[in-house]
Structure formats: structure tokens, C-alpha cells
Subunit: 245 residues, 2 copies
């Protein structure tokens, strides 16, 4: 449930490294395309499966996650949403959301009008290209997640997930002194890995025993990414530069 709405300010993500700079015309358009900002509380639903939202969002700050559920309530977390990620592109393209998005922490969103998307493609091809690039990146992430859930052991999966989140957060400038606190519960981890909470707990304990992570109440502190990468048998993210809308 959206709580507050303010006039849009300059996007903080702009500080991050980008493919390229926007042109004057693009900056002008983007600032016009934006209709405001939205503050959302932790635990609040940003978009629901089946929704026909008139909006498309960029996450400016905070954490969120995308998920789907089966009819009997089993939930699968598909991916986490970090600053710079688009939220609701699917709804803008096919009209209806086929997954839900929920905030993990208080988050700030940048709001766009979804019906102006065709205009972006018509008049701002490089921004359209960036959007497609971001959609394709989401696909790459899902490929990795599917490989992980389908073929890695519970321990490898957990190590992969935490290393993956760490690297994404690091890239977005959220880490401090090579450490990171991720605002998630073990239930979230379980629903991401496709495991039960009980087994997730036992698996995380093993990572804690190796001093790779430390679990606090409702948050996971990553202590040693390299160790996690090694347990996961994963090379890590290769991405160095990316576009931001």
C-alpha cells in the first residue's frame, strides 16, 4: 500500500556508473515522463499478480522482491529488486502483471505513466534500447536462478543466492567495508531456494559455522563473499556497466 507521494526529484541512481550519458533531450523527456515519487513501507505490496496498473516504476532506494504463488499458497520468490531495477514493465507490455512485487524495507519508487511507453520507443530509441537491455538482464538472472534451483545442492544454492545478492548490492553501492546486511527472513531465503524453512535454517547454519555469513534477526550479514562464491562453485557476476532509466 503506497503511503506517500511527492514531486519527483533528481534520480539518485544517476550517480552510478552508466553505459553512456543521457542527452539533453533525453533528460528533459525522462523528467517529463516521471510523474512523481512513491514511498512504500516494508512488507507492503507494490504490485499484485493480475493488476492492470497504469504505472511503471524504477526502484530508487530500498529492497523489494518479485514472487509468484500456487493456489494452495506455496510461494516462489523469482528475484530481488534493487535500486535501478524496473518494476512493472510486464504490465506495461502485456497489460497485466503475472507476478507480485513486495517491499522488503521502506522503499522509494520513481513513477512513470505506462501508457507513454510507446512514445519512448517512437521518440527515444536509446532509452527504448536501455529498457530492452534491462529486460534481457532480468532474463539472464532468471536463467542463473533456474540453474541454481534445478541443479545445485541446498548448500550451494544458499551460498550462490547470498553471493549473488551481495554482488548486485555492491554494484549499486550498498555495501560498506565489504559487508552487507540484507533485510530478509529465512522464510524469504527458503522461498527463493525452493526449500522448506527448516532445511533452510540448517543450511544457513552451515554457512554461519564457516563464518561466511552471520544471521541477525530479520537480516543476513554477508561476511565473506569469496567464501560463498567458492561454496557455490560460481564465478560471480561479470557485469560492469549498465544503463539506468
Amino acid at each position: 500500500m503506497p503511503s506517500k507521494r511527492t514531486k519527483c526529484s533528481e534520480c539518485p541512481i544517476r550517480k552510478l556508473e552508466r553505459f553512456r550519458e543521457f542527452t539533453e533531450a533525453e533528460l528533459k523527456f525522462v523528467s517529463d515522463f516521471k510523474t512523481g515519487e512513491l514511498d512504500v513501507d516494508a512488507g507492503a505490496t507494490i504490485l499484485d499478480e493480475g493488476a492492470h496498473s497504469a504505472h511503471l516504476f524504477t526502484l530508487l532506494s530500498g529492497w523489494a522482491f518479485r514472487y509468484k504463488t500456487l493456489e494452495d499458497g506455496r510461494r516462489q520468490i523469482l528475484n530481488f529488486v534493487l535500486p535501478g531495477d524496473l518494476v512493472g514493465l510486464q504490465g506495461s507490455l502485456i497489460g497485466e502483471m503475472q507476478h507480485s512485487v513486495e517491499a522488503l524495507s521502506p522503499t522509494k519508487l520513481c513513477v512513470f505513466q505506462r501508457n507513454r511507453l510507446p512514445e519512448v520507443f517512437r521518440n527515444h530509441p536509446t532509452i527504448a534500447f536501455d529498457i530492452t537491455w534491462i529486460a534481457s538482464r532480468e532474463e539472464r538472472i532468471l536463467d542463473e536462478n533456474l540453474l541454481s534451483v534445478g541443479r545445485r545442492s541446498a548448500l550451494e544454492r544458499a551460498a550462490y543466492l547470498l553471493a549473488f545478492i551481495y554482488q548486485r548490492a555492491e554494484y549499486t553501492g550498498m555495501t560498506r567495508a565489504s559487508r552487507l546486511s540484507i533485510p530478509i527472513t529465512q522464510q524469504h531465503v527458503a522461498d527463493t531456494l525452493g526449500l522448506s524453512t527448516v532445511h533452510t535454517n540448517k543450511t544457513l547454519k552451515k554457512l554461519s559455522a564457516r563464518k561466511l555469513i552471520k544471521w541477525h534477526d530479520r537480516s543476513c550479514e554477508v561476511l565473506d563473499v569469496d567464501g560463498l562464491l567458492q561454496v557455490a562453485g560460481w564465478e560471480g557476476l561479470s557485469e560492469q556497466q549498465r544503463p539506468f532509466i
Copy 2:
């Protein structure tokens, strides 16, 4: 390994239902954008992980699949490629393929030059929009697959997969009298579901016993989609119309 290369003819997929008709200018451009056709044998690799291919493809006929592997050889099939699907968009956007694509049957591909993709965005916004739509559809499919692998039981997963493939094939006009033969081995099914071949075999036997499918050597015949949908607890694909490039 590509085997044969011929001059490009009119795309057979054109017969299928589309969002909209191409304009004269678009038809002209697409036919210029195409550089030829490619015939690939069953079992041949179309694109390899790590490849920097100069091409982007559309599958015109036949079956293929996308997959990733871990270093020790464990393989996860990410999705199947049916006529009308794009192959290698990822390579065109980020320069390098992060998954491999292999033909399941003899297939025919339509070849495009990847370096002309920016031109598509610049001069043909509606085609660019279609490409983004298709990329987003792939994401939706991956979301479903991840939900399935992460949260469905072996029997549900198998039923979901076969119903899913059936529906996609049906939409592409590959079914006959509500039946379909899918050219896959049980190893492929296992690698898609994240199961062992032995357990996959036992699971498929259960579906056979219920007369929902019939397994032939190297191919699966779907007999009763509705039955599969019911076992899977799935509503089926909602998609009715789509763009084709």
C-alpha cells in the same frame, strides 16, 4: 554446427495470428535485415555459452532448447525454442551468450545481422517494441518455470512441463487432432525439471498410467492436455496473440 545456407524466403511464421500487420516499409526493412536461412541438424549446437555471434536468429521450423551447465556437467534446460522465438537476442544486447542453444530436431533458422539491431530501434520503433515484448514473454515463461521447479512436486512439474509445451506448440499450429509428439528424451525432461533420469522415468510412468501421455522412443506424445493441466494444478497459457519478427 550449421549445415546449409540458402537465400531467405518468405517467413512461414507469417501465417500465424499477429498483433498487427507490418507496414510496407517494415516488410521491406525486415526482408533487408534478413541475411539468409540456416538449416541445422538434430542435436547440433546453434549457439554456445560465451559465443560472440554476429547473428540473431528466428526459429522458422523445428525444435530447440536453451540450457546452462555447471562446471561438473550438471545441466539445466531453461526453456524450449519453438517457431517464432528469437534466438541469440542476449548476445546482441550484451555481446556475449550466457547460455547455449541446441536443436532437438532438424530446424530452420532465419538469420539477422546483430549489429543492425540499433538501426531497428532507431528506425522501426514498433519492431523494437515487438522485440521487447518477446523478451518480456521469455521472462514470464522463466518465472513460471522457476515457480514450477522450486515449488511443484515431481508429478506436478512433469505434468506442467508437458502441458506447457503442448500449449505453446498448439499455438504455433504444430498439434494434430489435439495430439502432439515432442521430440525429446527423458534426459531432456529430467534436465528441465531438475530431477534425475531415474525419477523422471518413474514420474512419467505415472502420467502414462493415467493415459495422459504415451512415451515413444525419443519422443513424448501428449494425449490429454486437460488431464495434465489438472494434475499440474495450472490454468494454462493465457496468451492469445503475439508479435512475430
